[in-house]
């Protein structure tokens, strides 16, 4: 079963759980805020071809994760800081990103969709001539991401899905990394 199919089944199951929860009584109090949150997300990353050698047809696939902290005292706006590390085949390449930025999130019952813009530093590395340059390289990166969290308990929830676009200004045309993943969330002082 592919990763995307797993994510789809999980999302459908959660929707079913949410629909069954609607039979419960309608709450009398709604809180127009969400507490600060720490999340750990697995990311599967696909690099573009722009910096690969012309003769190679192989895509760069990385597996890794990101840990982030979302500060939501200005809810629905949030300030986000994240640390991401991914490593993969075929040339043992790695990508390390440290970024911070702003986001917007809104809670609807148990669901909290979000969208973010971050900027920071990225460092790439490869054992071989993966990026047409030898060794590691650092630079300014911008990260756009969007996804949705589903709350399971006052503290714990899951990140049902997250899609991320990371841009590194390497090479003549820059380098774009597309990532998708899912993870767990933990709310502080719910």
């Amino acid at each position: 079963m592919t990763f995307f199919r797993k994510v789809l089944i999980l999302a459908l199951a959660l929707c079913a759980v949410n629909a069954s929860a609607q039979v419960s009584a309608h709450p009398q109090i709604h809180y127009d805020w969400a507490p600060d949150q720490v999340s750990a997300t697995y990311l599967w990353t696909l690099d573009d071809y722009s910096l690969q050698t012309a003769t190679s047809l192989e895509r760069t696939r990385l597996n890794g994760g990101t840990v982030e902290y979302a500060w939501r005292h200005f809810y629905p706006w949030e300030a986000v800081a994240s640390l991401q590390y991914s490593k993969g085949t075929p040339l043992n390449q790695s990508l390390l990103t440290l970024a911070a930025g702003a986001g917007y999130c809104r809670s609807f019952a148990r669901w909290t969709p979000f969208g973010r813009v971050e900027a920071g530093l990225a460092r790439t590395n490869s054992d071989q001539w993966m990026y047409l340059y030898q060794g590691s390289r650092s630079g300014f990166a911008t990260v756009l991401s969007a996804g949705a969290d589903y709350q399971l308990s006052p503290h714990w929830g899951i990140r049902v899905g997250q899609v991320q676009n990371e841009y590194l200004p390497y090479g003549s045309r820059g380098s774009v990394y597309w990532s998708a993943g899912a993870g767990v969330t933990y709310r502080l002082h719910p």
Binding site: A21, S24, A25, H26, Q28, I29, D32, W33, L152, P154
Partner: protein
């Protein structure tokens, strides 16, 4: 030896009985083993009948479309007292489940959500109050409507476990008492009282929190819901007391329902469009048209009649009769010594809503239910009537001509608060306050003006915090925008200072005092139950929401007969249960 043995047996018997009797008496109210207790089969049958009745009740509520008023008061943490309030009026709308037509959400106006400037201030608040205690929360009117039943989605043994506790009398009604536990989260958890025909008459508890609810930020409130027998064994929701502790304080509130007979009245009003008039007498003997001044007065009078009819049609105005006669007498006590004369006799009516307000429509003075409830004595009621009489004597009913054309009141009930403002301007209120005090000084209430001043002192003390309570829906506010009662400004010299710790000083009453409202007709009557004096200062609670407790009684009125004998949109006192 024998005597000693007999004596010891007697002693054991006496002490044994002494220990047993108080325990037995203590259990007599709710006893599962007494002669009144139900067998397991009877219990099962009662629960099944109750489950069936509940489905019918929710359908009845949905079809009969009563008005639902929710008023919440927010207490601050650490004994700060009242800090805020919220108010909603809506009407149940027929549909899938319980839906509502919101009449007005004054809370939104108070919170400044309609004003860009206030909205900016609100946002600024987010930046300056960055503690968890100050996180913003909203109350959901639909959520409070769910308290009309323990489970409007299906209160049945399939979803709950029932534990029989015994029988108990609530007033004259014998009930079986059950503890109820839900089989999964988000459902009712508490206690229910079921009368012998399987009707739920009271239930108290809370919806169980789901797994996403945090202990510090509850989404459900505790509630105590009471029903009223409106006739033919039909027990309909009438009053609910709610209370919930929050991280930022505590909320107390009441949800009230009335006007179950409104739909029937409106249908009858529609049916009576075509009327055959028998024995009509031709009074056009003068043969002349009226002069222009009389025409003007008739024109304004027609507007007044239209406005009153609209208020009553929407279920906001109590039918004429009942308590109105008490108010009429007080008005007469002011009119006669002041030699006031009006085009038409002055009458008083009661607006069935809680916000403290008064208004004049033509020669009718209307006082809100919440206002009358809080007034501690006759002279305080007289002061409000004098205030409106002053408006009437200076401005007459010229404003009512706005509603003389039939289409002027041809809008939905739910938009009435926006489309039918009947309030006076600030200048008019200042002038009326001055005149009202002079009326009072010339009346039989002149020696009691200190207690009137005391009432307005109390009003001033809370008006700044209970903005929704003092925000009028359609009429005149009794306080200025600065929070000072209009009348207090003219009585500062005689108004004594408040002594919150003095239990003998009752400046204002809690909400829910004085009046009873018939849940079917909306008819208001005087609550003649004895009112005990407060023993402790915390029992005074001026302008505050109090718990609900009824002495229930079964109504023997036939509901079909009641529907037939309730005059369409006219005053009629009908029997049946009443609620505060």
């Amino acid at each position: 030896m024998c005597f000693r043995r007999i004596f010891s047996y007697c002693a054991v018997l006496v002490f044994g009985l002494g220990a047993y009797v108080p325990a037995a008496l203590a259990q007599s109210n709710t006893s599962p083993t007494g002669p009144d207790s139900l067998s397991p089969t009877q219990t099962q049958q009662l629960i099944e009948r109750m489950a069936q009745n509940e489905r019918a009740i929710i359908r009845q509520v949905s079809e009969r479309a009563p008005l639902v008023e929710t008023y919440l008061q927010v207490y601050g943490a650490n004994g700060d007292g009242l800090v805020d309030d919220r108010y909603y009026v809506s009407r149940v709308r027929e549909g899938k489940g319980l839906l509502n037509d919101i009449f007005v959400e004054p809370s939104d106006v108070v919170a400044g959500r309609t004003s860009k400037k206030a909205s900016f201030r609100e946002h600024l608040g987010h930046f300056t109050q960055l503690t968890i205690e100050h996180r913003p929360l909203t109350y959901d009117a639909v959520g409070f409507m769910e308290l009309l039943g323990p489970d409007i989605h299906g209160f049945s043994p399939g979803r709950y476990r029932f534990q029989y506790l015994g029988t108990e009398y609530l007033g004259d009604v014998r009930t079986a008492v059950f503890n109820v536990e839900p089989k999964h989260s988000g459902l009712f958890n508490g206690r229910i009282w079921v009368e012998s025909d399987g009707n739920l008459v009271r239930f108290t508890g809370r919806f169980t929190p789901g797994s996403s609810e945090s202990r510090d930020h509850p989404r459900y409130v505790h509630f105590d819901s009471w029903r009223t027998n409106v006739g033919s064994g039909l027990w309909l929701p009438s009053s609910i007391y709610v209370e919930q502790k929050l991280l930022s304080g505590e909320i107390h509130g009441q949800v009230r329902l009335w006007g179950y007979g409104l739909i029937e009245n409106q249908r009858k009003a529609g049916d009576h469009v075509s009327v055959t008039i028998d024995n009509a007498v031709d009074r056009t003997d003068s043969g002349a048209d009226v002069d222009p001044l009389t025409a003007l007065r008739e024109w304004s009078r027609m507007g007044s009649a239209n406005a009153l009819e609209k208020l009553q049609h929407a279920g906001l105005l109590s039918p004429a009769g009942g308590f109105d006669t008490v108010l009429d007498q007080i008005a007469t006590n002011i009119i006669i010594p002041n030699n006031l004369s009006f085009d038409a006799p002055v009458h008083c009516r009661v607006l069935l809503t809680t916000p403290i307000e008064a208004l004049t429509v033509g020669s009718t003075i209307v006082l809100s239910k919440g206002l009358i409830e809080s007034l501690p004595n006759e002279e305080s009621i007289a002061s409000v009537i004098a205030f409106e009489l002053a408006h009437l004597s200076t401005d007459g009913n010229k404003r009512d001509a706005r509603y003389s054309f039939a289409d002027a009141t041809n809008f939905s009930d739910s938009s009435m608060y926006r489309k039918m403002p009947l309030a006076h301007s600030e200048e008019q209120n200042v002038r009326a306050a001055e005149l009202a005090v002079s009326y009072l000084r010339k009346s039989m209430y002149t020696d009691k003006l200190t207690s009137v001043g005391l009432y307005y002192r109390q009003m001033e003390a809370v008006a700044g915090r209970l903005k929704c309570l003092y925000l009028p829906s359609v009429g005149d506010s009794l306080v200025s925008p600065e929070g000072r009662p209009w009348l207090l400004s003219k009585m500062l010299d005689i108004a004594p200072h408040l002594s919150p710790g003095d239990t003998s000083q009752v400046a204002a009453l809690p909400l829910g005092s004085n009046l009873l409202v018939d849940a079917w007709t909306g008819q208001v009557s005087l609550n003649t139950a004895p009112r005990p004096a407060p023993e402790f200062s915390y029992e005074k609670r001026p302008f505050e929401v109090m718990p609900v407790y009824y002495r229930l009684r079964a109504s023997h009125v036939d509901l079909i007969e009641r529907e037939n004998h309730t005059p369409a949109l006219a005053g009629a006192d009908a029997a049946g249960g009443s609620s505060r």
